[in-house]
Amino acid sequence: MTDTIRFVLDGKVQEAHGVDPTRTVLQYLREDLRRTGTKEGCAEGDCGACTVVVGELQGGVVVYKTINACIAFLPILDGKELITVESLSADGALHPVQQAMVDCHGSQCGFCTPGFVMSLFAHYENQADGETATVCDALAGNLCRCTGYGPILAAARRMHELPQAPLRGKMPDTITRLKKLQRTNDLALSFTCPLTGTVKRYVAPHSIESLALLVAEYKDATLVAGATDVGLWVTKQHRVLETMISLGDVRELKTITEKNGALEIGAMVTYSDAINALREWNSDIGELIRRIGSVQIRNSGTIGGNIANGSPIGDIMPAFIAAGATLTLRSGAKSREIPLEDYFIAYGKQDLRPGEFVEKVNLPPAAKNLFYRVYKLSKRFDQDISAVCGAFAFHMKDDVIIDARIAFGGMAETPKRAAACEAALTRAKWSQETVLLAASALETDFAPISDMRASAAYRLKSAKNLIMKTFLEWEGHERTRVLDMKATANA
């Protein structure tokens, strides 16, 4: 049964055989199963109308996570449980999440509603609280154009007041069913497009060794991690992917290890899996991750994929380059380690040799004298790609900067260190004057472009100002971030 995708849906094992491996979960649900409760609003992971919940066996219980069905390829469901909006009230009674949405007038046109219900359902299953900030994070990937969100936030509080529904993840049935679906062989799909005759192949190896062999053999295969980039190549750019190797089942790539403060993050570690360790490393990195995409995106998207993709506006790169990260690349049984910044050669060109893949990214321990900041500037706080992302790592001795590592995204055709700016600061006394010098050095480092996210002038100006912001925060100014601000209290 290596060529059949099997997953649990509404308590039954659902089999999908002979499907196009780039068929999305959303297409499969809406068109093949005619479960049309799940909606398409954008087909790019940005609106959440397609949110479904995927359950995965982890340490004896089932962990539920939201994903964007619109950009998830069907094979990722293999061995998992899929929960859609229809599943929640399959027995006719509304789930507390649904009831709360009804009670609080959480729907108007209703088109976004199934997506919100599923995000809230995952929130419920994970026993997260109803605090506004927590809920806003849980819902950042769900757009509603009608309600203004207030009633939905109210529902997120209300759902905890209603009689509790049993948590699915703890149900023995679910667990047994999923255990049965765990495979020892690799899922391997082959599909011939009836229209064009194109053959598409998809294989999901289980070990790093077999991954290495496959990557060496199929040099032009597309590696698929969380598919939050790759998915869009299909749904937005309508590209045809012929050979795909999924990293999703490679156990070794899913680990994150901490050694004396240093972190090794496997290439298949998602943002959600990494956020706590990274927040520990530095709270600003934690906050950055919180603002990357949405819960749905972070549940699928990987740090390794962000790096491998090599986009000049990816957020991990500036943050990690400044932090002094290295990248481990593997080919066959051999690994090599390079400074992260060296990986990015030119726009769209990375130092990835044929047959090689990203194995892990390594963060050195955060030294005691490290002053670290990362700022993400975008039109909207949540679920928005950065116009500029600036990261600053200063090793300080009193008020002298012994070592400066500064990296920016959105300022050049690759994520890049600000060499001149670093030079202006290294071994300098941290002061308003050095800030100004360092800021003007940025003009040597970068000649950003204008696009729909920001003009060149804004990019340069705000990047310069971020140096000032870093300085002010180092000096101890508390009020420099609008996100920390509260309204003026009533007199």
Binding site: D46, L94, L139, L195, V482
Partner: protein, 780 residues
């Protein structure tokens, strides 16, 4: 007609009466995923999927269009272009200038060229890519500035005039002028444009169309097919959001789906993906506004000259009425004394801009609100005082620039009550203190009112029809011309009918809007949905009720006015009988239990040549206070707190109304802050998906948001149950946030130079305005 039930509405005990906070009729279905939108309908056998190929040039002659390879591509059933249209190649609402398929020339990037109907959308899209298309480019007119320079004008209109503005300006003690650019806005309804056409006998067609205007869809489909209107039925149960974006534009997709269906005899669906939707369809007009205000030392306006320039796109669409409404709202809630309001409507090589919640009103209102902030800045006054000083008041200060007397102004009461509740003044003082102590972050606060004219300004549109059937078991089937886009219209109208018959809401069946039940309807737009359809439905119900009352009076030998409908029963003199039994008895007595109802809004008229009249039946009011904070290093900003007091008259359904208020505010906030439409020099929209076009998310909603319906609200006109329309007005409450951002920018320059902020106030725009104000502050 007997209407005793009206007197007992207070103590009525039916379930789901008017004024009850009844939930949306589809709420349970929304949350369960069982509410059916058009793309959710079971695909009919042999369904064709239609892909629409678009122009990649903004202004060009098509020199070659070869579709041979498209036609022979796998999976393709038919390819249709301009020459295949049997009727008129035009889907425009009024002006006759919107070709379904480009005919020799293209006028915007995204204009439909041809349609490919195939077994799957993928096959259609792939086939479309095989077309050979060549263009001869001409210089496109993209922006308002381009259009101004090229004198590319869509329509010229007379200014609105009150008194002598120029003389007042020349003689005024103080004078200030300024500008503001206001970006457009994509509707971003979550459900994209979609139409499904089923071929019927005789070449007729039944179209399911996600539209706010089924009647127009019907007319356009008939026109394009070269058929009579009675050959076409358009049906719609619900939209996944409309906001004006489904007022005129769905006709295009309904027409294309119908063409395919009629030509092939197979059902056909057009369902746009998000990018195509955003590229192909029109948006809120962007504006450049200019004001010149003469005022007394205390800020009282003596004269105002306002110029409103807008980008209309390549065709007229509804631009005429939209820009009219901008002019109608350039006074907002203020008496201008002497005024001249000019409007320049530019034709550009961009998508034809269209209706969007507020319909030009928001842009017009921005003009006067920006101006009043400038006046307050100039004289160093609290802008609230300047606003209060200039409100309409009776008598003497109640004449609008378009000749309507403002008889119902409640703005002062609302604003003062809100200022007190929200502790506006003390918070403003604290904010000034905060700004003195903080270098990086600056705060601002502002309270602005909304006065919004209710009625279609195109007078003939103010009519509505309904159809009510009572079945022999006493259950009721309700139909009317209004459409459901999430605004809760259906439940409100059902509440009105339940109230009329005095039966529980659950006895009333809400049904799809369909052109063969209620004909010749107007779009569900201009916030008028429940006002006019509610009246029509009540009329229909009253007709039936009148018949039932006469029947009961006769049967139980009492006077007809002694027949009282109350709580699912009917009291006739001494007798009490259930509604259901009365209905059954009436049926056996051969009493008609079905009726149409019709309504036209009274009192309104307008003479566009003179720019005078009474375009509005009444005004809806509201006011909001917003507190914001900006980061002067990055331009990042947040709205921290909002307090709203809004007048919905006597609410038909407070829950639905609150939803409209909050949703409208947040949508307005998006328009003025994060939502930026970026066109490149060639006229291509660069922000055509949510990855680049940012509507507010949950966390953009202010942490503190206090929304109240004004308890004293009551419509002085005879509106349905004394309620007021609520769809559009709250959107403009968000101007308070923009104004507050302006004041925060002013604080960044230590109040030494007037802020010049444009909308949307993105971080980039705020940083630009901060740097600008600081530069000018050091110059003085």
């Amino acid at each position: 007609m007997p209407d005793a039930s009206n007197n007992i509405s207070v103590e009525s005990r039916i379930k789901g009466d008017v004024r009850e906070a009844v939930r949306h009729d589809s709420a349970e279905k929304h949350v369960a995923g069982t509410a059916i939108y058009i793309d959710d309908m079971a695909p009919p056998k042999d369904l064709l999927h239609v892909y629409i190929a678009m122009s990649t040039r903004a202004n060009a002659r098509i020199t070659r269009l070869e579709l041979g390879r498209v036609r022979s591509a796998p999976g393709v059933e038919i390819v249709l272009a301009a020459e295949d249209i049997p009727g008129k190649n035009d889907y425009s609402p009024i002006a006759g200038d919107d070709p379904v398929f480009a005919d020799g020339e293209v006028f915007y990037i995204g204009q439909p060229l041809f349609a490919v109907a195939a077994d799957s959308i993928e096959a259609g899209r792939a086939a479309a890519g095989l077309a050979v298309i060549e263009y001869e480019d001409r210089q496109p007119v993209v922006t308002i500035a381009d259009a101004r320079a090229a004198a590319s004008v869509l329509e010229c209109v007379e200014p609105m005039r009150l008194g002598d503005a120029q003389a007042a300006l020349n003689n005024a003690a103080n004078r200030i002028s300024g500008k503001c650019n206001i970006g457009g806005q994509d509707h971003f309804y979550l459900e994209g444009q979609v139409a499904l056409a089923l071929p019927k006998e005789d070449g007729d067609v039944h179209v399911y169309s996600s539209t706010q205007n089924p009647t127009e869809g019907q007319h356009v489909v008939a026109r394009v097919l070269g058929k009579q209107q009675n050959d076409v039925v358009v049906e719609l149960r619900r939209m996944g959001g409309g906001f004006g974006g489904k007022e005129t534009q769905p006709s295009l997709f309904a027409a294309i789906a119908s063409l395919v269906a009629v030509k092939t005899g197979r059902p056909a669906k057009v369902c746009l993906d998000r990018d195509d939707d955003m590229i192909m369809t029109g948006k809120r007009h962007d504006f450049e506004i200019e004001y010149d205000i003469g005022f007394k030392d205390d800020g009282e306006i003596e004269g105002a000259a306002v110029t409103l320039e807008s980008r209309c796109g390549y065709s007229a669409d509804l631009s005429s009425a939209i820009n009219d409404r901008a002019m109608f709202h350039a006074d907002n809630a203020y008496f201008l004394n002497n005024a001249e309001i000019q409007s320049h409507r530019y034709r550009t090589h961009t998508v034809s801009n269209t209706a969007f919640r507020g319909f030009g009103g928001p842009q017009g209102m921005m003009a006067i609100e920006c101006a009043l902030d400038a006046v307050a800045f100039q004289i160093g006054a609290d802008p609230l005082d300047v606003r209060l000083r200039n409100l309409y008041a009776r008598p003497g200060r109640d004449m609008t620039p378009y000749g309507q007397v403002v008889e119902d102004s409640v703005a002062r009461e609302l604003m003062e009550e809100l200022a007190a509740n929200a502790q506006y003044r003390s918070r403003r003082a604290e904010i000034a203190e905060f700004n003195r102590c903080n270098k990086v972050l600056k705060k601002g606060i502002s309270l602005t009112p909304v006065k919004f004219g209710i009625s279609f300004t195109t007078t003939h549109l103010n009519q509505a029809g309904a159809l009510v059937h009572v079945y022999t078991d006493g259950s009721v089937h309700l139909n009317h011309g209004g459409t459901e886009m999430g605004q809760g219209l259906m439940v409100k109208v059902a509440q009105i009918v339940a109230h009329e018959f005095q039966i529980d809401l659950g006895r009333i069946k809400i049904s799809a809007t369909v052109t063969d039940k209620v004909p010749n309807t107007s779009a569900t737009a201009a916030s008028s949905g429940s006002d006019i359809n509610g009246m029509a439905a009540r009329e229909a119900a009253r007709t039936i009720k009148g018949r039932l009352a006469s029947f009961a009076a006769e049967k139980y030998r009492c006077a007809p006015n002694e027949v009282v409908f109350r709580n699912n029963s009917v009291h006739a003199g001494e007798q009490c009988i259930s509604f259901n039994d009365l209905v059954k008895a009436a049926y056996f007595a051969r009493i008609s239990l079905s009726s149409t109802g019709y309504y036209r809004t009274p009192k309104i008229h307008y003479d566009r040549a003179k720019q005078k009249g009474r375009p509005f039946f009444y005004y809806a009011y509201g006011a909001a206070v917003s507190e914001v904070v900006i980061d002067t290093l990055t331009g990042e900003n947040r709205v921290l707190r909002v307090d709203i007091l809004h007048d919905v008259g006597r609410p038909l359904n407070p829950a639905v109304d609150l939803g409209q208020i909050e949703g409208g505010f947040i949508q307005g906030l998006g328009w003025l802050t994060t939502e930026e439409l970026v066109f490149d020099d060639a006229g291509a929209l660069k922000t055509h998906a949510p990855s680049t076009y940012k509507i507010p998310t949950c966390s953009d909603r202010p942490d503190i948001m206090n929304i109240e319906i004004w308890e004293k609200g009551e419509n002085i006109e005879e509106s349905i149950h004394k309620s007021k329309a609520v769809g559009e007005p709250p959107l403009m409450l968000a101007i308070s946030a923009f104004s507050a951002l302006s004041w925060a920018v002013a604080a960044a320059g230590d109040g030494k130079a007037a802020p010049r902020l444009n909308a949307p106030a993105t971080p980039e725009e705020i940083l630009r305005a901060v740097d600008d104000v600081r530069r000018r502050a050091t110059e003085v």
